[in-house]
Assembly symmetry: C2
Homo-oligomer: 423 residues x 2
């Protein structure tokens, strides 16, 4: 029986073949995400993987349904597997924000789902690092969030040679748009259509973009000129200054080509890309000051901003840059039971060591000495040890560190200390 198309199994390392997904690499990425968020004072939250369909259509319109894993449950509710975390966050914040001091700095590591019928072979789920700041309209919040994004990528060993944050602003484009619509050259109510065209500039042919822009009264040339200028607006300059103060200036550049497709962004937007341009965006985010109000039905109005970073592109990038550690069983010790009359005593020692926090394994059944030793090496155990009875009837432990160094411990109680000391 096969798993569903677009879903992943995660296996322990070493992987039987390179096409499989690694549970260890996934956990490594989760741990870095969590640790960096916590260093920035972000707190973890989570919501249900299944939500009312309406939560997502309220935010993104009915057209999103075509990309959702949605269905009707046994209680006749229209529901969907979450395609993104932000609506859930807005719902949770709206319900209890009065009890949390602002700014709220929260993160989550949700699994997200998309069902696109036509795209064979593409994943239908991924994990995403979501970090958001809620209740702070000052640009210092935008800088803080972008700093977290940069330091998250740096925590994996990526440098300014590997990635860049392309910083842009819906406000900058709005000003560009308004300046022309005031001169009556263009219609004043089509800004969202204009943003969609800008968002697709890199993916569509110049002729197609030119035609679409022309319908709104813009020329492709003036648009390209604005992008090329790259002149920071006052708000972007403030963010660049803040990041430079933290020593992060080299990781960011203004790039008005970035505008983010989603309708709900309201201010600064940004995306993280690999410098060599081999991969899709590593992360993306921005301000969405109206969303909490929208999701809460007008009850709660809080400015907000956030980003999402998926596990799939990040993993591809880390592999390409050779930045994944070697994942091993990470056993502290393997107990060799060569004398079956000492199995009971060996079990006692194994359980004591495990109780003291050490990762210890052994052969569950009697096995030849060399087979046990081979197993210890396969599991990459940092030590092997065995109980032996001396001629005078006392129990001693023989400890071997790998690569090989032997030692005899006359008091078995000293073994735990030795396992640490040998590090």
């Amino acid at each position: 029986m096969e798993r569903l198309p677009g879903f992943r199994d995660f296996y322990p390392e070493p992987l039987p073949h390179p096409g499989l997904w690694s549970a260890d690499a996934r956990q490594f990425i989760f741990e870095q995400w969590r640790a960096t968020a916590q260093r920035y004072g972000f707190r973890e939250y989570d919501g249900p993987p299944l939500e009312p369909l309406e939560l997502f259509t309220t935010k993104s319109g009915d057209e999103i349904v075509g990309q959702l894993y949605n269905f009707t449950d046994k209680g006749e509710r229209t529901v969907a597997l979450r395609p993104e975390m932000t609506p859930t966050l807005a719902r949770m914040v709206a319900a209890h924000e009065r009890n949390y001091k602002k700014p709220i700095k929260w993160f989550a590591l949700p699994q997200l789902f998309r069902y696109e019928r036509q795209q064979k072979g593409r994943l239908r789920e991924h994990f995403q690092f979501n970090a958001d700041i809620i209740g702070e309209s000052d640009l210092a919040a935008d800088a803080e969030l972008i700093a977290l994004l940069i330091d998250t990528l740096r925590s994996f060993g990526l440098t300014a040679k590997d990635f860049i944050i392309r910083l842009s602003s819906r406000n900058a484009w709005q000003e560009f748009y308004d300046a022309r619509s005031q001169k009556s050259e263009v219609r004043s109510d089509q800004a969202h259509v204009f943003f969609q065209i800008i968002d697709k500039l890199e993916r569509e042919t110049p002729d197609e973009s030119k035609r679409k822009l022309g319908l709104l009264g813009f020329s492709l040339d003036e648009v390209n000129e604005f992008i090329k200028s790259g002149t920071p607006t006052i708000e972007l300059a403030a963010i660049l200054k803040n990041l430079a103060a933290g020593g992060l200036g080299e990781f960011v550049r203004v790039d008005y080509q970035v505008i983010r497709g989603l309708a709900y962004y309201t201010g600064v937007v940004f995306e993280a890309f690999d410098v060599q341009g081999e991969f899709r965006a590593i992360a993306g985010g921005g301000r969405y000051d109206n969303l909490v109000k929208l999701i809460s039905g007008g009850k709660v109005n809080l400015p907000a901003l956030g980003f999402g970073m998926g596990d799939v592109v990040l993993l591809e990038l880390l592999k390409a840059r050779n930045l994944l550690p070697k994942f091993e069983a990470a056993l502290d010790a393997f107990c060799l039971i060569e004398d079956e009359t000492l199995r009971t005593e060996s079990l006692k020692l194994i359980h004591d060591l495990r109780g003291a926090g050490y990762a210890v394994d052994y052969s569950l059944t009697p096995a030849k000495s060399d087979k046990q030793f081979k197993r210890a090496l396969e599991l990459n155990s940092r030590h092997t040890f065995k109980l032996e009875r001396t001629e005078t009837g006392e129990l001693v432990v023989k400890l071997k560190k790998h690569p090989a160094r032997k030692e005899i411990i006359t008091n078995p109680l000293e073994l735990a200390a030795k396992l640490s000391a040998e590090e």
Copy 2:
């Protein structure tokens, strides 16, 4: 907009009110589960939360569909949110077992889903610690798995006064059944019906059990007598001896009342209960030697055993025994920016500390001194510090440990070392 009934939101501590679920408590439980499994040499795996419906009906029969979150996806596939992990594990192992040395010792922390239409207010999802050993038929594997279960509960601070493993065996009941059917008192082909009656003994009235047993040719008295005897079979005696060798004897007792409802168990079965009998089972498991063969369509035949421990009952028990730690923001330091002309220098210091692994926060916007300090206390920061310029123009850091102890550091570069030294 509300979340779906039976699903949970997880909020950061401190919780606004006690009815909410804690993301910090969840993460604490996950970390203990993962750490204990790793000490026992178990490796992590995971599969998709959504699987073909057939994966679950193959194992448990069509009657399970009534309890599943199942639906038809846009590709006309009948699918279900996983109600348990074992079928996914069996599928994954069957696909790649040749590349993993036996015994395979794997664990997972999946979220599982059940849809029972009638039960209002009951949760429809929970998280479960699943640990399994595959490819070892020796009873040492059963003992190893039960030892892991015991030490997992002990890792939370629970003792033999808090919980007990009730150990039983399908084989013991099979022998009991066979001994009578050979004497032609009962039909020989109704063992699974008999097991179901035993499983329900604690939940049904004696009269009802008596009637049902009578239909198969058994008396309730002889069944109760067998349960009361509690005489360990040879296999159970071997497991008890093994656990006693590891110093875990006091955590287990034979209790034939336990038989586990699921059809696929084949040998030793067990459940963990709180000693005071206040809660539902904390965990349960046993041998399922035929399941991998069933799921793989006969291609792979491996003995197997495992247990599952849910997060909900465990959390209730830990709360009742006062064993949950106090969860706090766990900030190493909060930077007070009292002199706005030093914001740039403060940002540099904050980022340097974060880069060195410390959890540091600060006020994103200018705020009164006492308000910043109050915020630091609310976040339970272990230190506060601020940059100040001396009369001679040099920058110094003033560090305060909480509860209060003040210090002046003339070289800002020494701050990181101080944060550690002050622990």
